[in-house]
Subunit: 281 residues, 2 copies
DNA sequence: TCAATTCCCGTATACCATACGAGAATCAAT
DNA sequence: ATTGATTCTCGTATGGTATACGGGAATTGA
């Protein structure tokens, strides 16, 4: 085993009973109902929050691989199979971990103070999401289709939608724009975090990695076939570090995307017909 | 084993000798040099292209998990360890598979005919990339930090950069814009493909999945805490299907991003100072 | 004290990548 | 023809993964 590969678990269904998964995700809200269970049977030695915390801590410190069922159990000092009394499967545990860190983002709820400008509000979402990925880079390797529908995810969507309301787009466009923004922000923030994680875990900077591949330019690269790359290279258009390029493109892309949304909202406001599609003003 | 989890291998280093990896990636170009090897030793029964093709076919048909070393070997009718004479590790095989499908995109090279408008040129990149993800949805689960630096990846970057040259941005901004576009396009196309893949492999539509989670709205969802979501819901702002929402947001986000880039190029053209940052026109 | 209930967890199964090393095939030189 | 060098083939072993199953332990109310 080289340590150069890692396996990542991907949630892609809820096979089990969705009711139980929902109850676990929302375990700390809405407790009003029935949790008066105190009848017979052996007392539990752990609780779900403990599993989730242990899983997150392991993934943070030693990578998503370390947050295996065996790893979490060992960290908690119990047998592996004990975890299955608290959580139906690893899939659900991962859902819980994800929603937990989604909820860590400090996003103002309805009525709470927030920046005045809608763009700054979106920036806040972007920055909080970026910081979350920095703290928990393993999130980038977890599939976001069919995400955990827990308090953390819902709070994030609620906040982002609320930032776009002042633009007065159609409801449909508001939702569409929010989806486009999350797609961009989540992906770019995830890539950035993953990029830094790779540098840390391999102990090799991206620059050193590229340096190792100098043969590419000397032996294989065909200038004739790649005039644009060559031109940019000759004009010193490439950033000094991969990290700088990632940061630049993150900011640039988000700014341009918001520019475009803002312009479309202005157009829409000028002529309040249905959804528009004018590509070139 | 439930079949509800799948493991995904993540390349995050080239540990081995980068020269060999490069030679494998570029095995079909630049053959001019030395490949006159025909001295002694047992004749190979396979070739690298065969491994790559088998891996891609398995991943296409039965998921990335099926493209295990054992799986590929079985498909080729050889022992598992035989593969290691052709490829140093699974990591490299995956690199080769990825670059192969990146090269499948039909993007005009330098001098070849292409759409007149730069936006249509970017759309072509977007459509080709989207189609690639549709054909090979497993690509969405492969990390793109430290990508395979082979002909396929370079052709893609070359084409996208070339589409932006007419905008006459600074070289730095051209590169930055190209990175932002790939981030958006690759992520959104990957998400879309993965979304459809999940529906196929679980045999459950996203709508059925949401229906299973009706409890969320009835039991846990707090209208007070989520006024924006509630408003959009009441205004019928949510698309009818998850698939429709994904398609809409993909188009919308790409259009707005290109709008923003176009506007910035126009600004930059008006006042040819260095890189700008005016947020609100 | 007993039955019901709940939690704990050892063992077994079926996967995965790959290190190691023995054996088979091929060619050049003897 | 035989030998030696070289290269490809691949069985076995190691240590990792999730989790099904079922027996045992702990707790409570009767």
């Amino acid at each position: 085993m080289h340590g150069t590969l890692c396996t990542v678990t991907v949630r892609h269904s809820g096979e089990g009973q969705p009711e139980r998964t929902l109850a676990l995700l929302w375990r700390n809200r809405k407790p009003a109902a029935e949790q008066v269970r105190r009848t017979a049977g052996r007392r539990p030695s752990l609780d779900v929050d403990g599993l989730v915390r242990a899983g997150i801590q392991l993934a943070d410190e030693r990578g998503l691989d370390a947050a295996s069922m065996g790893g979490v159990a060992k960290a908690l000092g119990v047998g592996t199979m004990t975890l299955y009394t608290y959580v139906p499967s690893k899939e659900e545990l991962l859902d819980l971990m994800v929603d937990e860190i989604l909820a860590e983002r400090q996003l103002p709820g309805p009525g709470e103070p927030r920046p005045a400008d809608w763009r700054e509000q979106v920036e806040l979402y972007s920055e909080q999401t970026r910081a979350m990925f920095q703290r928990h880079p393993w999130l980038a390797r977890v599939s976001t289709v069919r995400p955990p529908v827990g308090p953390g995810m819902l709070a994030g969507r609620e906040y982002l939608l609320s930032t776009l309301l002042p633009l007065d787009l159609s409801p449909r466009d508001t939702n569409t724009a929010a989806l486009a923004i999350t797609t961009y922000v989540d992906s770019a923030a995830g890539l950035e975090a993953e990029s830094q994680l790779v540098e840390r875990t391999t102990g090799q900077s991206h620059e050193a990695w590229w340096h190792e591949r100098n043969d590419l330019w000397e032996t294989y690269f065909d200038v004739e076939r790649h005039p644009a790359m060559t031109a940019i290279w000759n004009a010193n258009g490439y950033q000094d570090t991969v990290h700088e390029a990632a940061t630049d493109s993150y900011r640039y892309g988000l700014d341009r995307l918001l520019d475009g949304i803002q312009a479309q909202a202005a157009r829409h406001h000028a002529s309040p017909s249905g959804s528009e599609q004018s590509p070139t003003p």
